[in-house]
């Protein structure tokens, strides 16, 4: 037996080496993942001012552009600001109606619908280029041979939000004026849910055409000058009422007045001006419902089918 003990020793050495634990990193913390507890409810702080911003541009873009304005509002009201975004205009409208939003930056068509459904209240409107209007631009790729909507027959078209005026309603009106519907006129249509996404789609030839908010168009070109090489505008609509700032109609009148005053006085404040520049606005002014009549009448003329 002792004759073979060196061999046995050697085999033990092998087994030991083999079964040794491979070097592992030193863990910093020890946690037991099976010890589950209910999550603590966050402490209720002060009541925040709930501000909704419609999905005109992408959620990230909205956060970046409106950061200064929201901070300004927070400082002026002395309340924390809660930014609320949703994928569609209708979701924002629903939140305003149910009182879960205090202040909202909505699209024109969303105001029309909201006014009709629950008497959405105008608070103020941005002034751009000295006026409270904007247009719908029909954009195509820079090298496209199309000269107007008729040339886009059988092509791919991008809409923005289902109830967007400049992004859906107005382009649809151009198609219905030719006697057909977009579903039959174009080979394929899709929704981007934001104007800067629609611009991106056409610039990258994912779509052959789209209708976009003129303000957003200039804003996008400003931010990314290279886009000018990739796009061209082949049709500009007549001027329509600019997307307003609205309030929850059930908000206390004092708060409504306070908010309105802040908005109207922003341009006089250097910090306020900075915030306005960030969103491409000169100042906020008073607006009345009559400014949106032309939009209302155009939208009555066309029937927007439900989303599939």
């Amino acid at each position: 037996m002792t004759k073979y003990s060196p061999l046995i020793l050697l085999f033990l050495l092998v087994a030991l080496a083999a079964c040794s634990v491979a070097p592992s990193p030193q863990p910093a913390v020890a946690i037991d993942l099976t010890d589950l507890q209910p999550l603590p409810t966050p402490a209720a702080g002060e009541t925040p001012l709930r501000v909704a911003i419609a999905a005109v541009i992408s959620p990230k873009g909205t956060v970046e552009s409106y950061a200064l304005l929201l901070k300004y509002l927070g400082d002026r009201t002395g309340r924390p600001i809660e930014l609320i975004q949703r994928r569609t205009y209708m979701e924002i409208n629903d939140l305003i109606e149910s009182g879960q939003v205090d202040l909202a930056f909505v699209c024109t068509s969303a105001y029309i619908a909201g006014k009709q459904d629950f008497d959405m209240e105008l608070l103020a409107a941005p002034q751009v280029n000295g006026d409270t209007v904007y247009r719908s631009y029909l954009i195509v790729p820079a090298d496209s041979p199309a000269k107007d909507m008729a040339d886009l027959k059988g092509q791919v078209f991008a809409f923005t939000d289902p109830i967007s005026f400049t992004g859906r309603a107005y382009p649809t009106s151009l198609v219905t004026a030719l006697g057909v519907t977009p579903e039959t006129f174009f080979s394929r249509i899709f929704f981007t849910y934001s104007h800067d996404e629609a611009i991106y789609a056409v610039a990258n030839q994912l779509a052959d055409g789209a209708g976009v908010d003129s303000l957003i168009y200039y804003f996008a070109l400003n931010r990314d000058p290279e886009l000018a090489q990739k796009l061209k505008v082949i049709h500009k609509s007549p001027p329509f009422g600019i997307p307003p700032v609205v309030v929850n109609p059930n908000l206390r009148p004092q708060i409504k007045a306070e908010l309105q005053a802040i908005l109207l006085e922003m341009a006089r404040d250097p910090l306020g001006r900075e915030a306005l520049t960030a969103i491409g606005v000169e100042q906020f002014v008073i607006i009345d419902d009559f400014s949106y009549e032309s939009v209302r009448s155009l939208m009555k003329g066309i029937a927007l089918p439900e989303l599939p």
Partner: protein
């Protein structure tokens, strides 16, 4: 080196060197395989473990960053359902994902994969700054290690994504590798054993043959030759062995021849010596004694013829001298070659020798002869007589003994003679004296007849001489 380790190393070497060649080769082969196997397995485990850990960390970063990118819009749009689906899909698509969760910018959990509750301490276990690309930390959990990666979502403005990857698959991969490698080691060990056994048989077969042949040669048989199994050192050994054996056979042949010649010469010398003695004894007896007797008779006659008184005395004196001379001549003759040896045989000759020796030297000697009536061959009788004669002479000359004994008997087919005395003895190791030469001569006589002679003595304890000669009728001296 202290005594303990010294004895340990000695025992180790004893063990290692005392095993067979087969075991040595086996030990070498197995030892190498096992050593290599152990080393390679260990190294492979380490390398694989390190590589897989790197992979795990990278995977964590990639997966979490992907999760963070896809979580931006759902977080901003408050799409909690979409967020939950995103997390569950992430977990489904990657079995290494132990958990995933999203924190909002205030550090509150928006969605997670734990189901009913949430582990304490996990929220703050790992953090990333808003400008960090990622931050990975290794956590020790109840089920092994978890790589926890934190990635800020939208620069921290939307919140934080956290992903935990478990090392279970990593550990199982290493175990699989280890098992496979150990199996391979086992397999190669088995092959190694077979090879070692085969190699051993190749090496040891010629060695065994050599050992057997050498043992045969050691017993005096120089005929074995070993075939040259291989063209290596063992083959050279076989050739050398064969050459050596052939040379030994040659030398042995020569030795035998010389030995034969020497025996022949010795026998001739002894025979000649005995003949010479016999002749001289006879001449002394026949011629010289007769002459002396005639002389005595003549003197007697003169004495008888002479009347004068003064002539008688000198004549009687002369007669006395002649008588004494006659006696002495007779004694010389008997001592040279006792007639009784030829006429009556060894038994009577020894008895007479003993009596005469005792009478001459005044030392009592006990003679015991049991040979029976049959005579022994002449050469044997002569040899034994001369040996006993020489022994007794030595006792008289050197021993200063008080008594002696001579035993002569048959034992089996041999005749045995033992001469003992109680004298001063001598040192057997002492060399170069006349006594040694005399003893050598006695031994030669015995060995010429295929017998042997042994001497036992110690200073102060007498001497014992033991002669044993086989009796064979065929034993003939060739002249």
């Amino acid at each position: 080196m202290n005594a303990f380790s010294h004895s340990l190393s000695r025992r180790f070497w004893n063990t290692v060197s005392s095993v067979t060649v087969g075991v040595k080769i086996l030990g070498l082969a197995l030892g190498l395989v096992l050593l290599l196997g152990a080393g390679v397995t260990w190294q492979a485990r380490n390398s694989l473990s390190f590589i897989l850990q790197q992979q795990m960390e990278k995977e964590g970063v990639t997966s979490t960053r992907d999760l963070a990118a896809r979580a931006v819009d759902p977080i901003l749009l408050n799409d909690v359902v979409g967020l939950q689906k995103l997390l569950l899909e992430t977990q489904e698509n990657n079995p290494d994902v132990r958990y995933a969760f999203i924190l909002d910018q205030h550090g509150q959990v928006l969605a997670h994969t734990f189901g009913a509750g949430f582990p304490i301490g996990l929220i703050n276990a790992n953090q990333a700054r808003s400008d960090d690309h990622h931050h990975t930390l290794v956590l020790q959990t109840e089920a092994g290690l978890v790589w926890d990666t934190a990635v800020p979502v939208f620069g921290g403005r939307a919140g934080m994504a956290r992903l935990g990857l478990s090392d279970a698959s990593l550990r199982s991969a290493i175990q699989t590798l280890t098992v496979q490698m150990l199996l391979m080691v086992l397999l190669v060990s088995a092959v190694g054993i077979l090879v070692a056994v085969f190699l051993t048989s190749i090496l040891t077969r010629p060695l065994h043959e050599l050992v057997t042949a050498a043992q045969v040669v050691a017993h005096g048989d120089f005929s074995p030759r070993v075939p040259r199994w291989a063209d290596d050192e063992i083959g050279d050994l076989a050739d050398a062995f064969n050459a050596m054996t052939a040379e030994l056979a040659h030398i042995d042949e020569i030795r035998r021849e010389r030995e034969q010649l020497r025996r022949q010469l010795l026998e001739k010398v002894i025979a000649t010596q005995e003949d010479e003695r016999r002749r001289i004894a006879r001449e002394l007896h026949d011629s010289t004694s007769q002459n002396l007797t005639s002389l005595m008779v003549g003197l007697k006659n003169i004495e008888n013829m002479c009347d004068q008184q003064q002539m008688r005395a000198p004549l009687q004196e002369l007669r006395g001298v002649v008588s004494q001379t006659l006696d002495e001549v007779h004694e010389i003759s008997v001592r040279l070659r006792p007639p009784v040896l030829d006429d009556l045989g060894l038994s009577d000759a020894i008895e007479r020798l003993g009596r005469e020796w005792q009478a001459r030297y005044k030392i009592p000697v006990d003679i015991l002869v049991h040979l029976g009536s049959e005579r022994l061959p002449g050469e044997i009788e002569t040899a034994i007589y001369r040996i006993v004669q020489e022994s007794l002479t030595n006792i008289a000359r050197y021993a200063c003994a008080k008594s002696a004994s001579v035993l002569l008997e048959r034992r089996g087919s041999d005749v045995v003679a033992i001469v003992e005395d109680d004298g001063q003895g001598f040192d057997l190791a002492q060399k170069f004296n006349n006594r040694q030469m005399g003893l050598a001569g006695m031994r030669e006589r015995a060995e010429l007849l295929n017998g042997n002679l042994t001497i036992e003595s110690r200073p102060g304890q007498g001497v014992s001489i033991h002669v044993q000669i086989p009796i064979t009728e065929e034993e003939k001296i060739t002249l």
